[in-house]
Subunit: 213 residues, 2 copies
DNA sequence: TCGACTTGTAATCATTCAATTACAACCTAA
DNA sequence: TTAGGTTGTAATTGAATGATTACAAGTCGA
């Protein structure tokens, strides 16, 4: 009763380059988000995308270029997500900014579902020493700041608070603190305080079987 | 009038191993703090310490081991710094926790002066995927959390706020946002909001001529 | 159906880098 | 002084990895 397992075709299915490109970017987002720019290899990205390493390199030219595209996409998705909230009508009896703060926070946390987005951003932020990636990371971060400050109408102080909690969330995720949720009381308590009602969102994502290496 | 420049002795000065060890750890703290675990090379650490690469490896066995020692030292210094504040007498007319919050915040910011400490911690936090480094980073982070929660008497919510602003500071430093302080209004404003009176501390440190590579 | 284009891989190269080996120079106690 | 331990490097190695080249297999319009 042993079935023939056609699991690993030597040659990947042939699909349009544009679509393959999206697959690679999605895979790269996860891999770079986990290991960082220098910790990730183009071969890991290729395997995650189900194709060969040379194909990854040929499609994006260089590893740096691939990372820059991953970063740009993450910034774009964050921007789109925030602007969608900004476009929502403000309920009666509420100040605009008073309504926006929790909604934007929730929108940010919801981005966890894509997994790679927030982690890739965080990995880029921490690569500030790199002349190319660092420059892009800085300008991207400042774009987010200006969006909150000018479009959402936050005060400087309020914006810093908002970003601070975002960075805490990113750090806890990168730390893989959710892995300790069951065993450690402090981890459980901190995650609850940092994520509130959105906690279950995190627990599903990180219990995934990606614990290798 | 050209003097003989004995700048680079082929062989480093001979000093006791224990002292050399401290030099290497200090150098490694800066290098790892800048480039991260996988982005840094043992040769970069060796050059920063003014010795040869094999000596670095022999003294610490492996690069991983060296990073773990750097991480442990950073955690120790943070712990010592916080406990020094906890030992301070509380001024009359103030609740203990009400007094501690700003003092602990100031103590944290003051750690910037060592430069490597906060950045090495942040680099470790973001290496949560690594089985060895990740485990140590998680337990270290939770130790800090427990210190604030149990020894300082913070509420869970308050602790999260405190850590959030710490992580924002770390991120802004890793991003090298202070490099844009002169040119960019938003960067200036955000740094002011995040660092307050301690802003000048950062501007001195990061204007250092370490922009290569 | 044939020729050009697209989508993919195998093989390989050159570099980087952690780690090892072998050795040199220095110090110090007997 | 000299033997043994300490502090250091030069040279090298082996593995990892980004990138290149050459080629195969599929697709599609004329």
């Amino acid at each position: 009763m042993i079935e023939k397992i056609p699991e690993k075709p030597a040659v990947a299915e042939r699909i349009p380059a544009a679509l393959r490109r999206e697959q690679i970017l999605a895979a790269a987002s996860r891999v770079f988000g986990e290991r960082g720019y220098s910790g990730a290899t183009t071969d890991q990205v290729a395997q995650a995308a189900g194709i060969s390493q040379p194909y990854v390199v040929r499609m994006f030219g260089t590893k740096e270029n691939l990372f820059l595209e991953v970063l740009q996409r993450a910034l774009d998705k964050l921007d789109i997500s925030f602007r969608a909230v900004l476009a929502e009508p403000v309920p009666e009896g509420l100040e605009r900014e008073e309504f926006l703060a929790p909604r934007l926070g929730a929108a940010y946390v919801d981005l966890i579902e894509d997994k790679g987005i927030l982690m890739s951003l965080m990995q880029a932020f921490i690569t500030g020493h790199d002349p190319v990636i660092g420059a892009k990371a800085r300008s991207g971060f400042l774009s987010i700041y200006r969006l909150l400050r000018e479009e959402a109408g936050f005060e400087a102080e309020q914006t810093a608070d908002f970003l601070a909690h975002g960075m805490l969330m990113n750090t806890l995720l990168a730390l893989r603190l959710p892995d300790l949720y069951q065993e450690d009381d402090a981890a459980c308590e901190l995650l609850t305080a940092a994520l509130g009602t959105k906690l279950d969102l995190v627990l599903h994502v990180s219990t995934a079987p990606e614990n290798r290496s």
